[in-house]
Symmetry: D2
Subunit: 331 residues, 4 copies
Amino acid sequence: MNSFGKILRVHIFGESHGSCVGVVIDGVSAGLPISEEDFLIDLERRKGNHQKGTTPRKEKDFPIFKSGIFNGKATGFPITILFENENVRSEDYEKQKNIPRPSHVDWAAHQKFGGFEDYRGSGHFSARLTLGFVAAGVIAKKMMPNIKIEANIISIAGENDIEKGLQKAIEAKDTVGGIIECKVNGLPVGLGEPYFDSLESLLAHIIFAIPAVRGIEFGTGFKATTMFGTEHNDAIENMQGKTKTNHAGGIVGGISNGNELIFRVAFKPASSTPKEQISLNWETQKLEKFSIKGRHDLCVALRAPVIIEAVTALVLADCMLLEQKIPRVIK
Amino acid sequence: MNSFGKILRVHIFGESHGSCVGVVIDGVSAGLPISEEDFLIDLERRKGNHQKGTTPRKEKDFPIFKSGIFNGKATGFPITILFENENVRSEDYEKQKNIPRPSHVDWAAHQKFGGFEDYRGSGHFSARLTLGFVAAGVIAKKMMPNIKIEANIISIAGENDIEKGLQKAIEAKDTVGGIIECKVNGLPVGLGEPYFDSLESLLAHIIFAIPAVRGIEFGTGFKATTMFGTEHNDAIENMQGKTKTNHAGGIVGGISNGNELIFRVAFKPASSTPKEQISLNWETQKLEKFSIKGRHDLCVALRAPVIIEAVTALVLADCMLLEQKIPRVIK
Amino acid sequence: MNSFGKILRVHIFGESHGSCVGVVIDGVSAGLPISEEDFLIDLERRKGNHQKGTTPRKEKDFPIFKSGIFNGKATGFPITILFENENVRSEDYEKQKNIPRPSHVDWAAHQKFGGFEDYRGSGHFSARLTLGFVAAGVIAKKMMPNIKIEANIISIAGENDIEKGLQKAIEAKDTVGGIIECKVNGLPVGLGEPYFDSLESLLAHIIFAIPAVRGIEFGTGFKATTMFGTEHNDAIENMQGKTKTNHAGGIVGGISNGNELIFRVAFKPASSTPKEQISLNWETQKLEKFSIKGRHDLCVALRAPVIIEAVTALVLADCMLLEQKIPRVIK
Amino acid sequence: MNSFGKILRVHIFGESHGSCVGVVIDGVSAGLPISEEDFLIDLERRKGNHQKGTTPRKEKDFPIFKSGIFNGKATGFPITILFENENVRSEDYEKQKNIPRPSHVDWAAHQKFGGFEDYRGSGHFSARLTLGFVAAGVIAKKMMPNIKIEANIISIAGENDIEKGLQKAIEAKDTVGGIIECKVNGLPVGLGEPYFDSLESLLAHIIFAIPAVRGIEFGTGFKATTMFGTEHNDAIENMQGKTKTNHAGGIVGGISNGNELIFRVAFKPASSTPKEQISLNWETQKLEKFSIKGRHDLCVALRAPVIIEAVTALVLADCMLLEQKIPRVIK
């Protein structure tokens, strides 16, 4: 269940407080140059290092290649990348393991996995698993040198000014959410299929694999529900299929139409707020006040743009392979 | 690419103006009683018959069982259901086949399928294919007698009053969009997986398989981006996992938590508006005025609730089978 | 579970004594010319009409196109083909439904499907389902005009002379088995993958989907177990990879090496022998003598070459698509 | 392509002379006790340590758990197991990298992967990858405590006496092949499906993932082609479905029938023989004499029984999960 993709396939594994998190990426075109340096910028972006509101937990997060790369190039076989967990404070979690944190998966996971789940630092549910997404995304991006994927925060805590939104969080000593917009340029016409494998279906599928995502909309999105057809329709203007407007956000009938791909993603405020909360202790069966220690972000959306770019790249590269627009061997 | 599901698998086929549309449903529990009558209510709902604003094309849309049902019960083998196309006016489309309709898939499909696609009535892209979704959904619903799925229109053309929204469309002689809300009660805890097979991922995947969908949000959705963590967090109140609020919409960490599942879906205004439009004739390479004849809905969202229920049921039944909460044989 | 393939995907359905058997073939390259005539030779070969030892049940077995073909060409969408069941004598089976026929699936199916299976004429288990294989194979073959697949009977009832083997069956009034050899020429180097998707794995997988198959061997096969390495090794002779010998049968390390692909398939004698047999009546719980009425073949292997060719073509076309050696659109 | 399974899914990775080989096993029931000790016997069997004719390369082959195990039990999330490569002599291979070894994949892999493959010690094609099979098999076996899987060598170099067969190899200083028979007891009725997911299809698929396998037969196998139907048919004797004979080898119509599952697998002599051979140097384009240095087995079949048991266990456990005969959580 921890796998995604048809030709370019990604499998993630690991736990927050176990030995590592990692990813296996199968189906990468042989010959693609891959070095550790390729990963550094995106891994750094994922840390959100330079912004207020991100967690003080700082791993080195250096990618360790375990397979599939030889002489600096992809071999065409599965690429395995590990990220060691080095900076772990499990005792923070041990104390509160019987108190399911509100809006965390603790309670549901405990039911589903019978109490055998690794509860330390959310275990497999930790956002640390998105290291694997980012690493796979770096490779997917390299497979499509002419396609430009760019995600940006467009609002935090309801404010279009990121600083202002973060200030709200800092003042309230509480977590806040945000909206990320992703734009892709250079896409060929014809990616995606009608119905089950529509490009929206594939993108939405993997976007909701990112923790804290609560909504996605393409093109004009929810606002389109208030428009008339003649307002919303994008008239084709030239033989390249360029449209006058782009309410569709680059996808019609499930298929890319060559215009800019645009979608927006809603991130809720992180559940792990520094404020005192109340929950039910499932051992004592009593409500208890508690505070979440650990180290957490005031705004998880800050780290999200690079993750959204990564998973978008995975979907697009897979579609490109299916449409034979990326070769299996890169010479 | 026209398939969905892991254990309960659905394959759709057919064209709007070909001989039929249909569906193969594999993995249905043996012994499930299935009769033609089971389908009539939902098929009727899909027609949106009794509401203004739906297309005058009225097929009988009677389900023809071709396999997998014996003595009124599912055999456990693939169930094939056909819907014959009886009321076809292809000449409406023949005339305009070189003018890609704005915001329709015509242009992109022509590029992707090399001009070999059946363009009559949108061919395989026709919303008529959703007959297969509805039929499969009827069976999936029957596999989960204790789970109640209900989708309703909550706004049309930006109005919360359906009548008022439709009136806007009728007055403007233009198409309008709408928002559908789906609620599911009776779900067990533990459906869905972290990451790629999160319940949101699976639901969003199949929801975007429905034509004209532009957005989806779970629980509080996009509005959650304006809330603080302590506002948004749902505190667990009892040992059944009931939460005080339900901002999460019944899913945490990708997994159902036993509370009501809630999501909303945005439908754009249909591209086929009765108004005159302009597009590029790809033969003459000139812009042309044209009107869409055919028979079309002023508001496709009117037919959508039953389709949303159907695909939701498909996802949930598949998850239930995976979690061994539906038996493979029903005695 | 009734599906096969990655890009070229085949779904079969139907029952022997239901309304039809059929197949959905998804992923066929758009533009491929397809007419009913294309199917006639292979469908005729499947009937084994002109040979002694084949069943007197003679359906017209005419392919009815229900979707995916427009103006005589594949559209790129799912192709559905039905074969109506016209010549059904269900009463033959009704009488003996509580007596599981020896070496038939009756007993196991009854346990697995809880008695809800369609038992008439073996229902979904009927070799009549292989009509779908043959139809899909015709299309797959057409996608690879430069690849020649040819399967032939090389022994019947242990005799290398087919006539002599059949004579044994006729004299004994009993069924007999046989061995089919399949050879493929014109394959490119590089189809198949190491390990799980080795070309042998994919071929063996689908070959064992054919009823009555009990074994498969590639190249020198079981006899290779008696050879020394230096005897068995195939030395490469030229820059095209042509080998001096071909003990490998065209596959090394799971991958086609450009030499002739060769494998052999063992078919057991059909379980439905005209002779009186004994089995346990699961209603009376007593052993009973009984004879199989119905209409059956003395040697199912006679019909098998075309079925083997068909499924081989399906695997190869899927691998060719994956390796981008067949285009998605054929102009 | 390096993945297998529906609910219990296995992904393998690594290269012979890279940093490690490994496996990700997803879908393991939460709560299953797993310790390093569980692996030692089967890993030792895979080394074939105590038998003549196995390679002198001796790694420690100790399983390193990287994810999915917590407090000695499966968490229900992906289990990652690595085996470090410690004893690597790459220079043996460097010298001959332009001479494709006869009947090795060198030449075909070079074509398919464009020369980017890791050629050292056969890279990803190395039988060392079967460490992952064995490790996954240990876990699959533990999921089915009441099912007994046992594979044994039944012939070496055409001799039923293993010692005698090996003696032939040692005397000839050449490699030899062999046949392994696998028997499974305790299987429930009903595993496998008709056609594409027949139990034979699934087993054959994964058996051919093992390097050097050239054939497989179930029950009486190829010999069944010489029998009459009445000889081959297995009459059911009691209400448990026990048959008088077991020519079917425990599978009818693709489905387990509760009798002993039996199949045999043919292993060719290893391609890496110590004898001098001739091949085409693809740089000089001339035929050259050469000898394979490295460290290799005289009879790879000696290590094979435990590998066959492992992959058989993977298929059976996956089928058991699908049939809901193994719970998702083991308490």
